[in-house]
Amino acid sequence: MRKKECIAMILAGGQGSRLGSLTSKIAKPAVPFGGKYRIIDFPLSNCHNSGIDTVGVLTQYRPLALHSYIGIGSPWDLDRRDGGVYVLPPYAQEGGAEWYKGTADAIYQNLNFIDMINPNYVLVLSGDHIYNMDYSLMLERHKKQKAEATISVIEVPWHETSRFGIMDTDEQGRITEFIEKPKEANSNLASMGIYIFNWRLLRKCLEDDRKNALSSHDFGKDIIPKLLMDGHRLFAYYFKGYWKDVGTVESFWEANMDLLADEPELDLYNPNWRVYSVNPTRPPHYIGAMAKITRSLVSEGCSILGEVEHSVIFPGVHIEEGAIIKDSIVMPYVTIGRDAQIYRGIIGRKSLIEEGALIGSINHEGICVIEENIIIPSDAQILENHMISKQKQVG
């Protein structure tokens, strides 16, 4: 294979248990997002748009949907003769089979893959963040600073600092301090979980870390502090655009709603930075004569006869006359019956909301989540903050 300067490793194994029933059947990166995408489309499209043509996707939890979705990578132009996309699930070795124990261990267990390509730099990404970012600029910066590792950072609200890896830098941007999820932070520069490492250094560091029984084998908790302690040149790369970790139901819902702003921070319509995806084979959507749609995203193959306000509607959704959908996310191939009402709902794929059912309530804050393939019977009422899954059917 031709020598590559930089390859990407996308960590896509997470269960995302805080997304509740949205991830009971699929890994978090495969969760539908933004009216036609899946979360992993964002890092994959960023790779393509940044000129990175060799990408390893590390899967683990319920990988079927993700594997079949990624396929040979052609939607992201990653079906290359040299390189392309490699799906890397955990595998049995001489010592037996084991799961990825942490983010760093996941990379360690795929040393052979990276060695095969032997790049100068390895870009480590998460499969569950929503953002458009040009990694080539970050790499340029990394090289210019003669850094050994570069961490992409973003300023987060002070009250959220305890959720992130927080760092301090000097005037050149060199990292002086890094604390994973601090109780009290003296900076609001948070790590976005996007790292560029010099491969030689990372390789050695991963091997050392592997031997350390006390390590949790995590980039944020172990590798970065270790590198810092050993005096390596670690730099921060300041990212200015939109970035969101969609790890919880609330943040997932918010990130979808963010797209509905008149001028959203995340531009899906930029012809120079397309977000690629597996496109459904569906006709343009049809809006009925009595329908009403405002402040919403609607995808192909839908037929909408009811009322949709401030919502995200995925492909193939059918909404009957008289139905009202507000502040909601309706995933692919859902049918919503006549006069049903949905407020702040997240409706999973292929579910059926029968005539007159009520989900959520108009003046409440909580978010209702309905898992995929669920039938909500006619005239059922589901209160805010419920999660409806197969185990816990109503009716």
Binding site: N279, T281, E300
Partner: protein, 371 residues
């Protein structure tokens, strides 16, 4: 149907939609919000199980090649068989281009003869329908027919004078065909889709060429009505014949009836096309849309009524679109009003302009125009 190869003959109806087919072949004409005419026949063939499709192209076929490329979107990028573009051969004796469809067939006989399939399905791209050929093929074999012609029976008040009409006996055998004349009351219009055994076609084309005939219908079919067993197979579903601006407009508008939308796009298989990775349609605060079909990538701020919007159209605040078709990447600026208009790709209607055509004579705005 693996034993049937498809030939899509683009020799038909090239100049009928003048303004819209100046820079592109009819087969590449955008239709139905995100498709091009050829998508329908290609998808029908693929959905019927056919794996080998040749396209006899005429002139201006760059736009079509752009669209088809390897044929991957139709699952026709295959190791064996798949999609073949069959360009016309320059003919030393005639300077006026191709003399007729038979010449086109004749020039590509080597491809036809060397293919593995025993049967052929010949069709144009100007009839838009969602049709599975399996039943017609079974009929063809059951009847032991030499040639089966698919036809559609029209209502008594449709104008049929320019079409090929079939006269069928009760068992389906064609006794006469030709343009409509007073001597026949038949409303059975040929869909120009033919099933035929490959060897027979090769023979007929060679024979026709040797005798100096060039027209497939006149010189191959009609001349052989008595010699060959020709059968008509009735197609009962939706079929939109795109042969004039008026019909183009009317048949697009048909799709705003949900039952037609359903039939054309879902009935016997999905319609494939080249994907563009457009984001979902965004409806902003003041958007209003009624009885309208809108493709991905559009941003709607104004009012859209009884219209079809192709991919990536922008409708700004206060703009009003009524009974119109806007092709890819059109932009309608603030407070502009258009009614009964067909805008070709990349048309920009600037602020406050008012454009109005007639229902039976829609105004066509050429590609890339700024009004």
């Amino acid at each position: 149907m693996q034993n049937v190869m498809g030939i899509i003959n683009l020799n038909l109806g090239q100049d009928l939609l003048k303004e819209l087919t100046m820079g592109r072949p009819l087969a590449a004409l955008p239709f139905g919000g995100r498709y091009r005419l050829i998508d329908f026949i290609l998808s029908n063939m693929v959905n019927s199980g056919m794996q080998n499709v040749g396209i006899l192209v005429q002139d201006k076929y760059r736009a079509l090649m752009d669209h088809l490329r390897s044929g991957k979107e139709w699952d026709l990028a295959r190791k064996r068989d798949g999609l073949f573009i069959l360009p016309p051969s320059p003919n030393p004796c005639s300077s006026g281009g191709c003399r007729g469809s038979v010449e086109n067939f004749y020039n590509n006989l080597d491809y036809i003869e060397s293919s593995r399939q025993e049967y052929m399905l010949i069709a144009g791209s100007h009839i838009v329908c969602n049709l599975n050929y399996r039943k017609a093929f079974k009929f063809h074999k059951d009847m032991n027919a030499d040639i089966t012609i698919l036809y559609k029976e029209y209502d008594a008040d449709d104008e049929l004078s320019q079409y090929t009409i079939l006269d069928c006996q009760p068992d389906g055998r064609i006794s006469d065909m030709g343009s409509q004349s007073s001597r026949t009351a038949s409303r059975k219009v040929s869909m120009e889709m033919y099933l035929i055994e490959k060897g027979l076609l090769v023979e007929l084309i060679k024979d026709c060429q040797a005798r100096g005939g060039w027209d497939f219908v006149k010189d191959v079919l009609i001349k052989n009505i008595d010699k060959l067993k020709m059968f008509g197979y009735p197609y009962k579903g939706y079929a939109a014949r795109i042969d004039s601006i008026k019909n183009y407009y009317r048949h697009n508008m048909d799709l705003l009836r949900p039952e037609k939308w359903e039939e054309l796009f879902f009935k016997s298989g999905l319609v494939y096309t080249k994907v563009k990775d457009e984001a979902p349609v965004k409806y902003k605060e003041n958007a209003r849309a009624f009885n309208t079909m809108i493709a991905n990538g559009c941003i709607i701020e104004g009012r859209v009524e009884n219209s079809i919007l192709f991919r990536g159209v922008k409708v700004h605040k206060g703009a009003y679109i009524k009974d119109s078709i806007l092709m890819q990447k059109c932009e309608i600026a603030e407070n502009a009003i258009i009614e009964n208009v067909i805008c070709d790709k990349n048309v920009c209607i600037t602020q406050g302009k008012w454009l109005k055509g007639e229902k039976n004579y829609p105004l066509v705005v050429a590609k890339g125009t700024i009004v």
